[in-house]
Amino acid sequence: MKRGLKLLGPFLGLLVVVLFFAAVGPPGFTSFANFKTIATQTVIVGLGAIGMTFVIVSAGIDLSVGSVIALVSVVVALVLNASLSPLLALLAGVAVGTLVGLVTGLLIVKLRVVPFIVTLGMLGIARGVAKWLSGQQKVNAPESWLGGLMSKTVEPAWTLLPPGVWLLLGLGALMALVLRRSVFGIHVTALGSNEDTARLCGVAVGRTKAAVYALGGLFAGLAGVMQFGRLGIGDPTAAIGLELNIIAAVVIGGGSLAGGQGSILGSLIGAFLMTTLANGCDLTDVPTYVQEILIGTIIVAAVALDRFRHRCEA
C-alpha cells in the first residue's frame, strides 16, 4: 500500500498537467490523435527510463544513454545500408547497446571507479565512436519496417497505437515484474539499499552490478532503434543530453539517487508527464524556454515532496 502512495504523487502530477491543458483548451489536445502523438514521443525516453530505473535502484547512474542512443541509430543505419535485413539491424543495434552497458558495468566493478565517472567517460566515447562510424554525417538508409515502429499511421488500424508504444508498455510490465518479483530484482534493490548487507548475505554483488548496466545498455539500444525509426536516419548528433531527461523521468517517478527506491510504473509516468507538458506547451504556443523552466521546477518539486513524505513517515 505504501508503494501505491508513493506513485500517487507522480500520478497526480500527470493528472494535473492533463487537466490543465484540457481546461486551457489548446485545439486538439484531448483528441485521440494527440494522445497517440504524446505516447509516441514518450517511447524513446520511456525505454531509456526502464533501464535507468534498474541502474538508479542499484544506487548507480548512467550518463552515457544519450550517446549510446545516437551510436545505435548509426549502427542500425549502417547495417541496413549493408543491405542486411531490418531484423538483423535491430538486433545489431540492441547488441551494441548491451555491449556498451556491459563494458560500463565491468569497468565499474573491476576498476572500482564510481558509476558517475565511468559513464561520464562512456558518454564521450560512445558519441565519438558514433561520429567516427558515420563519418561525422547523418547516415541515410533504405526504407524498411523499422520506420513503421514509430509511425503515427498505424497499420493495421485496430492496433490503435504504433508498435513502439506497445513495445514500451509490454516491456514496462515485464520489467516491473522483474524488478519486484525476480531474484535478480530483489538483489538489485538490496544492493542499492545496503551494499555491505547484500555482500554479507551472499549476493553476487559484482555480477549483479554488471548485469544492471548491461540491462540499462539493452534498453538504451532499444531506444536507439526507435530513434532511428523515428527519423529514418542514423544521426551521430541525436539525443544529446537525453540521459538527463531519462534520469528526470525516473526521479519524478519516485526513484532515489541514494538507491533502493524506484519503480518502473513511476518512471513511465514521469516520462509521460514530461512529454505531455512539452506537447501541451507546443500546442498553446508557449515558448520552449518556459517548458524548460517548468520541467526543472517539477524535478525539484517532485524530489522535495518525496523528502517531505519521508519526514512525515519517520
Binding site: 530483489i186 534493490t189 539499499s193 548487507t197 547484500a198 548475505c201 549476493v203
Partner: protein, 488 residues
Amino acid sequence: MDPAPTPPALRMRAVRKAFGAVQALSGVDFEVHAGEVHALIGENGAGKSTLMKILAGAMAPDDGELELDGAPYRPAGPQDALARGVSMIYQELNLASDLSIERNVLLGREPRRFGLADQRAMRAQVTQALAALGHAELHPGRLVAALGPGERQVVEIARALVGDLKVLVLDEPTSSLTRDDAARLFAVVRRLRDRGVAVIYISHFLEEVAAVADRYTVLRDGQSVASGPVAGTAPATMVAQMAGRALEEFFPRVPHQAGAVALELKALAGARLPRAASLELRRGEILGIAGLVGAGRTEMLRAIQGLDPVRGGAIRCSGRTGLLSEDRKGEGLALPLSIAVNTTLGRMQTVSRRGFVVPRLLREKTAHWIERLGIRAAGPFQPVADLSGGNQQKVALARLLHHDVDVLLLDEPTRGVDVGSKVEIYLLLGELAAQGKAILMVSSYLPELLGVCDRIAVMHRGALGPARPAAEWSEHSLLQAATSGEAA
C-alpha cells in the same frame, strides 16, 4: 546450567592477534556449549571486538586454535562463517531497509520458481522463523524501513536462524534498545538457547549478564582472565576481574585553581541521548565524564556544541566552546589538507586580509602552534594525513586553541595516541586549566580520568550522575557506576 557432556560448540585455545606493535589478543581461551548463553565481558579495548572479528571470519588470528563442533574452524570470510553456522549480530544493524522483512531474511538464498522469487515459500519460511523467535506478530511483508530497532534486531536474528545456526554472537545487542525491547530480546535469546543454539553474548551491562547468561568469561588486556557460572558469582567479583589493575601510567599534574562557572547544564536532554545531564564546570577545572560506549557522552558534548538538537533542559555557557571529535579521521580533521589549513579553518580571518589568505601570516601562526604543542612535522604545509595519531590529535587541539575557545569539549582525546603523546597531551591540558580554560573530557580510559581530572561524573544510559572529586573514585567504583548506574 550444566555444560553438556558433548564437545563444546565452539572452542578457542591460546588465540593471539597483533596489529603492528600492539598485541590486541595475547592468549584467549574460551568455550561455549550448545544450549548455553555465554557472556563475554570486559572493558573497552580488552579485545572483545577483535575476538569477534576472528570468529566471524573478518580477520585471521596470528596463532591459536579454533574448533567448531570438534572440527578445526578457520573461516575464510563472513560468508564462510555463515555457511558453517556461525552468525553475528553487529551493533550497527545490517539490513536493506527498502526491502520487506521476508526478503531481508532470505536475501541471497531466495527460494526460486521459474526464475522469480517464490513468494509463497518465502512467506512460509519466514513466518515459521519469526514464530520460533516468539514474534509471530511481525508480518513478513512489512518494509524494514518502518520497523523499530528492536524489531530490526529480530529480523537479523531470524536471518541467522533460517540457516543452520550453531553459534550466534550478539555484540552489545541492547545498546540501541529500550528496556521493553531488551526484555523481549532476552526472551528470544532464551528460546534460541532452548533450541540448542550456542549464544555468545557480549555486553558491558552486568545486570544483563545476570539476567540472560549461564556462564561468563572476562577479557582483560587481550587475555581471558576469568571464567565461571553466572549464578553464584557476585557482580562485584566480575567488576574486580574486569578492572584488575592499578594506575600504571604517569600523569604529570600542573597546579590549577577552579574559578567562575563557565558552563552549566540543567537536565539537558538530546533527541535520544542524553536523557538527563546536569553539571557545573568552572574555569581552571578539568571535569571527566566516564561511562560506557553508547551511554550518551558523545551526544552530550555534541548537544553542548550545538551540533545535535536539544529536546529539553538548559545550557548556560559563558564564553566560546570548541569540540574535539572522537572521530578524528572521519570528522575531526580534513586529512588531505595541511596542518596550517586544519588549524586555522573556521577562523581564517586571523590569517587573511580582505578575504584573501596571507601566506606569511598563515605560516607564522601555524609555526607558533606547532612549536607550542610540540607537533612533530616537516612544516606548516605538510598534509595532516602524513602525521602520526598523536601528532594529528595535537593539530586538532591546536585548532581549538587557535579559535581561542574558553570551554574545551574533548571526546576521547587520547584515543589512538601513543603513550609519549598521551603524556604530552595530559601536560597540555593541565597548562590550559592553569590558564583558566574550562575542560570537559569524555574518556573510556579510566586511569586517564583518575589521573588527569579534578572531578569525575559517570553517565549511565543517558543519565549523568553527580560529579565527585577524582580522589573519591577508583577504577573499580567508576566501572561499577558505569555498568550498573549506582555509585559504589
